[in-house]
């Protein structure tokens, strides 16, 4: 695997201001839409019976944590995020919904995680690509492996750029990928047109030491007339608008060019013959149990403890 690495590589830099109410509201709607598209917070065939302590990484305003806590009131569900405001709001929601089994902590997931070894039965992470650089993934997975109990599960979910009958959509996400490449945060070299994060999930889990790795693909159809159309188009419109400072900062396009493309995208979204998919993938693997005779040693890295 080669990566384009022209300059400084920040290990944690969200592309949208995480402090804004609009981003919090958008993430809550996105969380709920994705969870509905996946038919629940966990895949239907996940054995939850042995998962008593659960962690969500980069939880944002806590949508997944709160859904899990509400669905499984006898489990302890923890969410961590680098943003104090996101965590504050997640706690506000837990308080409002009287979910006493949901807790939240401020934590930088690109550094050592402040948990003891073998703390969690299930470690979950959804859509980290917005801030994770390629070199940060192996370290994060090693930490996930460390804090997962033997026979516990690590589950990752990542998506790709939308596939849509809209040149404005193709162009805008192309600029987004270009901006990531300029910051050295893209997995594939310049000129590629995919995020490709989902392709690497199996490798990350394998290199961390996980066994029995499984995958499940999902497609969210947000074509005109589908149930997800209005809410997902709104999600994309808002996320792109919030992403504008990042794109113009990286000088992949001017603010005027961006505005024109967004106007066209909204027209396309509201067209009768608009067709689009959002593809995303879940990969999960198990940490070998204590009694497993052939425990494969995970790849070692130079991550600080």
């Amino acid at each position: 695997m080669t990566t384009n690495n022209p300059g400084p590589q920040p290990t944690n830099a969200y592309v949208i201001d995480p402090e804004s109410a609009a981003e919090m509201a958008r993430l809550m709607l996105q969380d709920r839409t994705i969870t509905q598209a996946m038919s629940g917070a966990l895949p239907e065939d996940t054995d939850i019976s042995l998962a008593h302590t659960i962690l969500d990484i980069a939880c944002g305003p806590g949508g997944w944590v709160l859904d899990m806590a509400a669905q499984y009131p006898d489990r302890e569900v923890v969410g961590i995020d680098i943003s104090t405001r996101m965590i504050d709001y997640a706690r506000t929601q837990a308080e409002t919904r009287t979910l006493t089994n949901a807790t939240f902590r401020v934590m930088d997931v690109t550094q050592s995680l402040d948990f003891s070894d073998a703390t969690f039965d299930l470690v979950n992470a959804r859509f980290l690509f917005a801030f994770m650089s390629p070199r940060a993934w192996p370290g994060l997975l090693r930490e996930c492996f460390r804090i997962t109990r033997p026979s516990g599960t690590i589950r990752l979910t990542e998506g790709e750029a939308p596939l849509a009958t809209s040149m404005a959509s193709e162009t805008l996400y192309g600029y987004f990928l270009q901006a990531l490449q300029r910051e050295g945060r893209a997995l594939l070299p310049a000129g590629s047109r995919n995020f490709a994060t989902s392709v690497f999930l199996r490798k990350y889990l394998h290199d961390a030491g996980c066994l029995d790795i499984q995958q499940r693909a999902y497609i969210l159809d947000y074509s005109t007339g589908t149930p997800a159309h209005d809410i997902w188009c709104q999600n994309l419109d808002i996320s792109l608008e919030l992403m504008a400072p990042f794109l113009t900062r990286e000088k992949v396009l001017t603010r005027e060019e961006f505005d024109q493309l967004l106007i066209q995208l909204k027209k396309d979204h509201n067209s009768d013959d608009f067709y689009a998919f959002f593809f995303f993938l879940s990969s999960w693997g198990k940490k070998p149990g204590a009694s497993t005779s052939s425990i494969r040693q995970p790849k070692q890295g130079s991550r600080k403890r």
Binding site: S20, A21, A22, E23, M24, A25, R26, M28, L29, A70, Q71, P73, D74, R85, D88, Y89, R91, T92, Q93, E95, T96, R97, T98, I238, E241, L242, I263, K266, K267, N270, S271, D272
Partner: protein, 330 residues
């Protein structure tokens, strides 16, 4: 599958608390240990009379069966309830302080752009339905906003701009209808006084809500210094849902929402003169082609080399519809 009729109120309780989530929630509502519920269900101990009243109020779906079965074991219970005339309400926590902090943070540090407004309104309504719907009732909230009038004109209509549905809402969702003089929202905006109906099927309200599951509705104006920006409609699938405490919560959330609106979005009462809006079926037909009409306006502006943003095009198309500029009203 044959259902066995419960023989006692303890059978009903036993069945309910088989679900750990229900057990935990019910214990909290009654302010007792969950094991106390187990002992009641198994007949090991008896609840006090106020616990029985609380049990009935905490389980609205089982209200009638419990009211029938409890007196069979506790004959005195019936007499006490008839004599007391005191309705025991669940306590409802106040709005979490974190939400006030979140809203004020955005209000004081950002220009109130459409994006910021969207974020604040969405967050408030999300928490609102979460909190109101925490007793397992289906709850939804709709924010209807005054449509800005043309220069020199009065406000003629409202539009449903934001909608949030609680996790337990099992009914259909709805489009963004226009509401006018014929609607509850219109009445509340015109009078700047809240209204509540706890059994709408008995009230024969001329509503446009098209939601069969709704049994109770409350409307509260969004006001600031005697001017009004719209109103919040709160819908519930449960009859008699809007108790005094819940209406107090509705009031607080409505007042909080007023912080999300800009000064020019509030109108004095004398500038509100709502028309009667077309029926829902007519609106639905028009709204189904709304986006295409907006696109046409944008394309027309582009061909004439004049700048037009989407909100402007939407306003133009809406004005055409409301002023009968198309033949869709027929």
């Amino acid at each position: 599958m044959q259902q066995t009729e419960p023989r006692s109120w303890r059978d009903v309780l036993r069945k309910i608390i088989q679900d750990p989530k229900e057990r935990r929630s019910l214990a909290k509502a009654l302010d007792v240990d969950a094991r106390t519920l187990d002992r009641w269900a198994e007949g090991v101990s008896n609840p006090r009379s106020h616990n029985l009243l609380q049990l009935i109020d905490a389980l609205p779906s089982y209200r009638f069966i419990l009211a029938k079965l409890i007196p069979e074991e506790f004959p005195d219970f019936t007499q006490r309830r008839e004599a007391s005339e005191v309705v025991i309400e669940d306590t409802i926590p106040d709005i979490a302080s974190g939400l006030y902090d979140r809203v004020l943070q955005d209000r004081t540090t950002n220009i109130m752009s459409p994006m910021v407004q969207w974020g604040i309104c969405t967050l408030i309504l999300q928490l609102f339905v979460s909190q109101l719907g925490s007793n397992r009732s289906g709850v939804a909230a709709i924010l209807a906003q005054c449509m800005p009038p043309s220069a020199g004109e009065k406000v003629r209509s409202l539009r449903e701009q934001y909608q949030q549905y609680g996790l337990t809402w099992k009914g259909a969702t709805r489009g963004r209808y226009f509401l006018g003089a014929e609607s509850l929202a219109g009445a509340v905006v015109s009078s700047c006084q809240p209204e509540v109906y706890n059994d709408i099927k008995q009230e024969h309200l001329p509503l446009v809500y098209q939601l069969q599951e709704v049994n109770a509705i409350a409307a509260y104006p969004i006001q600031q210094a005697g001017r009004v920006a719209g109103c919040v409609l709160t819908l519930s699938t449960e009859q008699n849902f809007f108790t005094r405490l819940r209406m107090d919560l509705v009031r607080k959330y409505s007042n909080l929402l007023s912080l999300a609106f800009r000064e020019h979005e509030f109108f004095p009462r004398e500038d509100i003169d709502l028309q009667v809006m077309p029926e829902a079926a007519v609106q639905l037909l028009y709204l189904s082609t709304f986006n295409e009409r907006v696109n046409e306006e944008l394309n027309r502006a582009e061909r004439h080399h004049s700048e037009m943003k989407r909100p402007q095009a939407e306003h133009l198309v809406l004005q055409q519809f409301l002023e009968g500029g198309s033949d869709d009203h027929q």
